[in-house]
């Protein structure tokens, strides 16, 4: 089966290597010493690292929620637009991908900084009296993550909404359903696979993001992605970095598996 071979080469073998290294120890000058120990995993139970896990989870959850709230109306609008416009809107959603993510993040730094575009415009309009300090705060990290991952939410939502049979929505209106009920009882259940796919596609990369916290957050706080990068590159403690990576991946996979078990979702968009 080609799909199995693909999974094996690009997923299971690297995962296995991470797992094997995570039981080793760091040599004094940074190499990998082949001893077997669970020390890397017990270290992870330290409240210090648990705090990083909790923080990163919270940030990823908020990012996903904001992306869903912003992405759903947009995807709905695109899906309901005339066909020839749909292509144009979708193209506009995807165009940012033509530019390197790092470059776009730097662009946000110019927009958000004290004497940046946003503050200049708002002050000239008289909406604010003094510059708002957003760059190098958690708010800037959130803006950067939502900006970066919004297309991953919009595209699967659009796919689900475009496929939805709109006559069912019309039927709901005809039966005097309230706007809330139309959304909650008709549209959402019909587009659930798209919502789930979008949330997964946003949540997982947000959990591992490290460029955004570094550049927009001013490296003031550490997220999981930064911790892993730091362990691999600065401390050169590959075994500990591998242990963190492995736990992170296991948690994500367990979460997904549990979700499918509970919800019985058979297929994804």
């Amino acid at each position: 089966m080609p799909s199995l071979a693909w999974l094996g080469i690009f997923f299971f073998i690297p995962l296995l290597l991470v797992l094997v290294i995570s039981f080793a120890a760091r040599g004094t000058y940074g190499g990998v010493e082949w001893t077997f120990s669970l020390a890397n995993y017990t270290t992870l139970l330290d409240p210090l690292y648990l705090t990083i896990f909790v923080r990163s989870l919270a940030l990823a959850l908020v990012t996903t929620a904001v992306c869903l709230l912003l992405g759903f109306p947009l995807a709905y609008y695109i899906a309901r637009a005339p066909l020839r416009w749909q292509g144009i809107w979708l193209l506009l959603v995807m165009i940012p991908f033509w530019t390197n993510f790092l470059v776009r993040t730097y662009a946000w730094m110019f927009i958000l900084r004290t004497e940046g575009l946003m503050n200049t415009v708002l002050m000239n309009l008289g909406l604010i009296a003094s510059p708002v300090e957003i760059l190098y705060t958690d708010a800037a990290i959130l803006i950067g993550l939502v900006y970066g991952y919004l297309p991953f939410m919009v595209l699967p939502l659009y796919a689900a909404l475009a496929r939805m049979d709109y006559s069912l929505v019309e039927a709901a209106w005809d039966l005097y359903a309230s706007a809330w009920n139309v959304l909650w009882r008709v549209i959402l259940p019909l587009t659930k696979p798209g919502v789930i796919a979008g949330c997964i596609l946003v949540f997982i990369p947000s959990l591992g993001a490290f460029i955004t916290p570094d550049l927009l957050g001013g490296a003031r706080s550490m997220m999981l992605g930064n911790l892993i990068q730091h362990e691999y590159l600065v401390v050169r403690d590959w075994p500990f970095g591998s242990a963190i990576s492995f736990v992170l991946m296991t948690l994500v996979l367990l979460g997904l598996w549990g979700y499918y078990r509970v919800e019985g979702v058979g297929r994804m968009t």
Binding site: L17, L48, A219, S245
Partner: protein
């Protein structure tokens, strides 16, 4: 000196981003695949191609062209943006580079890891012109493996319009009146080095209690710090976003060129001195050409032109006279003689790195 380079590693970050987007975490085994396109191909043109592995924005094209023409060879440049990245790439199997430019403490790690070839000093006569103060350095006193190339200090860049009297002490970075206008290096050893020196300790402290005190000092400073950055603080100084920046002299010198009110000071409690060194890698197949290339980079005229362009001081003591006068007199480029007795090299602290690492993580969680 981990990130004096202007930017974070594009190739590595792209690679990691892709990995994360695919929801698979990077593994160290990705290394060999990660070998850049320009990575050496030892079998072809072994005699005529030199592979030079150096910092981002650390070469002058015209100087390389001159070497290529004079020797009838081709020089392929590949770059890294931190010492850690250099080591990671070499450890993960990238081989065939001839000459690299690690910083002082990384030279000692690379010697211990047996990555360096012994230099043939007979083929590098310019070694005799190295500044006395850069000779007999603790990590390689006899220049068996390395020769200092570009060097400088880490200090404080400040805007003299905001701070009219030159700050003499690291304490200015803890002064509440500059809250939100301070940037610190996002570099574990340098950041702790600044706090340790401010406390009157060595930047290479290994005592857990002292490292813990340094952490407490940095935690108390954190509310004042606008950003921890190793690569764009010169722009923050130029734009006026920060008035005080803990940083490498060369980068502050770049900021001065655009905003003349920027000045540079090496605090009285002492600061870090660093030197990037030329080394030949053990895997090099063109050792003789590599020696010739090192000798070329250390040449008086070549070195002076390098300093003029990169704003980092050259190790060649005769080159200084040929450097543009404003740079020669700039304390951010050439540290004044009076500062020398209070400069300290960052050295490998061995297992104590774990204490720094933990303290750093705790600082970032506050």
């Amino acid at each position: 000196m981990s990130a004096r380079a202007l930017t974070v590693s594009y190739s590595l970050i792209l690679h990691l981003t892709l990995c994360i987007l695919c929801a698979c975490q990077p593994t160290p085994e990705d290394g060999p695949k990660n070998t850049p396109k320009t990575a050496p191909d030892a079998t072809s043109q072994a005699a005529t191609t030199l592979h030079y592995f150096t910092w981002t924005d650390y070469v002058s094209e015209d100087l390389l062209n001159a070497f290529e023409k004079a020797n009838g060879v081709k020089v392929v440049v590949d770059t890294f943006s931190s010492n850690e990245e250099l080591l990671a790439k070499l450890q993960s199997g990238a081989s065939g580079y001839d000459v690299a430019v690690p910083s002082d403490f990384m030279v000692s790690i690379m010697i211990k890891q047996d990555l360096l070839a012994e230099l043939d000093l007979a083929k590098i006569p310019n070694v005799g012109l190295v500044d006395e103060r850069l000779q007999h350095l603790p990590f390689d006193p006899e220049n068996r493996y390395s020769i200092p190339y570009l060097w400088g200090t880490v200090g404080i860049g400040y805007d003299s319009k905001v701070i009219p009297t030159a700050p003499e002490s690291w304490g200015v970075l803890w002064d509440p009146q500059y809250k939100g206008r301070i940037s610190m290096l996002n570099d574990q050893r340098e950041l702790f080095g600044a706090a340790l020196r401010a406390m009157g300790q060595s930047a290479n402290a290994k005592d857990p209690k002292i490292i813990e005190q340094a952490k407490a000092k940095l935690v108390s400073q954190k509310p004042l710090v606008k950003t921890y950055s190793s690569d764009n603080y010169d722009q923050l100084l130029v734009s006026g976003e920060v008035a005080l920046a803990h940083g490498w002299g060369g980068a502050v010198a770049r900021a001065m060129a655009e905003r003349p009110s920027i000045k540079y000071v090496v605090p009285k409690e002492g600061a870090t001195i660093w030197s990037d060194c030329l080394v030949v890698l053990k895997t090099s197949r063109n050792r003789e050409l590599a020696m010739r290339f090192i000798n070329f980079l250390l040449d008086r005229d070549v070195a002076a032109r390098t300093t003029n362009r990169l704003l980092f001081a050259s190790s060649n003591r005769e080159a200084k006279a040929l450097v543009l006068a404003p740079l020669r007199q700039n304390p951010a480029v050439y540290p004044p003689d009076s500062t020398f007795d209070r400069l300290e090299w960052i050295t490998d602290v061995g297992e104590a790195i774990k204490l720094y690492d933990r303290a750093w993580t705790e600082l970032k969680l506050r």
